[in-house]
């Protein structure tokens, strides 16, 4: 097998551009997904069944259907409905955030519910309101427990952003496929793509590890 490094060099500027877009998609997905996920997670925990139902349905849909399908639905269906034309980058960010929000909501809920009930009761006895108790007592402790599963979710999100190639959002995987289409080579484009994703995900897990250590109380 002759491995053609020169072809990779030809595509290097495009891979660089693709990497920037992948980072953009992932960061946007993480930011919007986390904010939305927190809201949905809290919504699902509301005691009133009718109020929590929409949040429940949201999670059921986005967790129960493939992201691939969601991307196609949002790109060819939802986005044109609002803007009148297809927009690959918008659709990719939307699909990734909406999808991640469903998982993140469950992570938040699990984190919050893992905190002993006595903590809330104690905070309330001290005269805090429910919201105050949440903000100052429950959430800070829950947040620490959520870091490992959240990190997991972020890494999954970065990797799943590669599915945006199908709607021609020019991220890393898109250029990998373009390179394969041009030269009909398998190893050169996809090994390069794999290495780039690995570098991104490794950097993220390094950061998350440091954060986890900093917050550890033991």
């Amino acid at each position: 097998m002759d491995f053609r490094f020169d072809l990779i060099m030809d595509y290097a500027p495009l891979f660089l551009k693709g990497t920037l877009l992948t980072l953009g998609l992932s960061l946007a997905g993480i930011a919007i997904g986390t904010a939305l996920g927190l809201a949905i997670g809290l919504g699902k925990m509301v005691k009133n069944k009718w109020l929590s139902l929409p949040f429940d349905l949201y999670i059921t849909f986005f967790r129960g259907t493939p992201l691939f399908v969601q991307i196609l639905l949002i790109h060819f269906g939802l986005v044109p409905l609002f803007t009148g034309k297809t927009e690959p980058v918008t659709a990719a960010i939307l699909a990734l955030s909406l999808n991640a929000a469903a998982y993140i909501a469950e992570i938040f809920r699990a984190g919050i519910q893992s905190i002993d009930k006595g903590q809330m009761e104690a905070a309330r006895t001290l005269g805090m309101t429910h919201v105050q108790a949440m903000r100052h007592v429950i959430l800070p402790q829950a947040f620490k427990r959520m870091i490992p599963p959240l990190g997991n979710e972020f890494i999954v999100l970065i990797k799943e952003s590669s599915l945006a190639a199908v709607i021609a959002a020019p991220e890393i995987m898109y250029w990998g496929r373009a390179m394969q289409g041009q030269y009909f080579k398998v190893w050169e484009p996809y090994i390069t793509v794999a290495v780039i994703y690995l570098v991104i995900t490794l950097s993220l897990s390094f950061l998350l590890n440091r954060l986890e250590r900093r917050l550890s109380t033991e």
């Binding site: 060819f76 297809t86 496929r177 373009a178 398998v186």
Partner: protein
């Protein structure tokens, strides 16, 4: 102890892999040997109506009927498998399949890596645009967003106008997705083989698409069956192709799918 078990696991795993590898190769060389009424593995990307597409779970199309007729003439059975566009090239390069049929244009670049049968179809790339668009020729596509299928001659044709990897060229998995992008408004035009875009415009009058041709910018192309380099099968298949040209089978299939007579003289002139 732990290390040892990991090592033995790796060993077993690599042996398994090696075993898979050799059995594949055996299959490959078996297919080279001539045996009566052998089944050929023919690979395709069945998302290119009317050449090859899925009708329910069956692959149908002009290419399918053509290959079945040719294989029958040469004394083989053809097992046509839908693998996707790029895997088609991988399978032929690695000699996993016997040959490929997928409306594949014969060009010099591909000839370096693969062998082709005699030309069996004449095609040109054309431009699909919405009705009332100001695009009248290939030159008008400058500064426009154009959707194509990744790795096709349609992509090459438009790259010859806009430049390689121009960000205004959107490359999709297949032509259907490219056309949907045009429909969704994310692209101004689609460049693809004439039969596909004409068929689409004809079958979907509600979309209000028209086909623009520019024979000066996009040259005529010929489709061929694609073989691994130095395939022994090629000569037999070429002979069978000429036979069905002569005995009228080809014209019959052509008329069934396209409703007109093929230009056999032109196809034969390419041999």
């Amino acid at each position: 102890m732990k290390k040892l078990s990991l090592l033995s696991f790796l060993l077993v795993f690599s042996m398994l892999l090696a075993a898979c590898g050799t059995s594949d190769q055996n299959n490959g060389s078996d297919e080279g040997a001539s045996e009566e009424k052998k089944t050929l593995r023919v690979v395709t990307d069945a998302a290119y109506a009317p050449f090859e597409y899925m009708d329910g779970d069956k692959i149908v199309g002009f290419d399918v009927d053509f290959v079945n007729a040719v294989a029958k003439e040469a004394g083989y059975e053809a097992d046509i498998v839908h693998v996707g566009w790029e895997p088609v090239f991988v399978e032929i390069e690695d000699k996993i399949a016997d040959f490929a049929v997928s409306a594949i244009t014969i060009n010099d670049e591909r000839k370096e890596s693969y062998d082709f049968s005699h030309a069996y179809f004449l095609s040109t790339n054309k431009i699909l645009v919405p009705e009332g668009s100001d695009i009248k020729s290939a030159a008008d596509l400058k500064d426009k967003v154009v959707a194509v299928q990744n790795g096709t001659t349609g992509q090459e044709a438009i790259e010859s106008v806009l430049g390689e990897n121009n960000p205004n060229i959107k490359k999709f998995e297949n032509t259907v997705l490219a056309i949907m992008e045009l429909k969704g408004g994310g692209a101004d035009a689609v460049v693809a083989d004439n039969t596909v875009v004409e068929e689409y415009a004809k079958n979907n009058p509600d979309d209000k698409f028209v086909v623009v041709e520019d024979p000066d910018a996009f040259a005529a192309e010929y489709y061929g069956l694609m073989f691994p380099k130095d395939s022994e099968l090629k000569a037999e298949i070429n002979e069978a192709i000429n036979t069905i040209y002569e005995n009228g089978t080809y014209a019959e299939i052509y008329k069934e799918w396209f409703g007109s007579e093929p230009d056999l003289e032109d196809l034969k002139a390419q041999q």
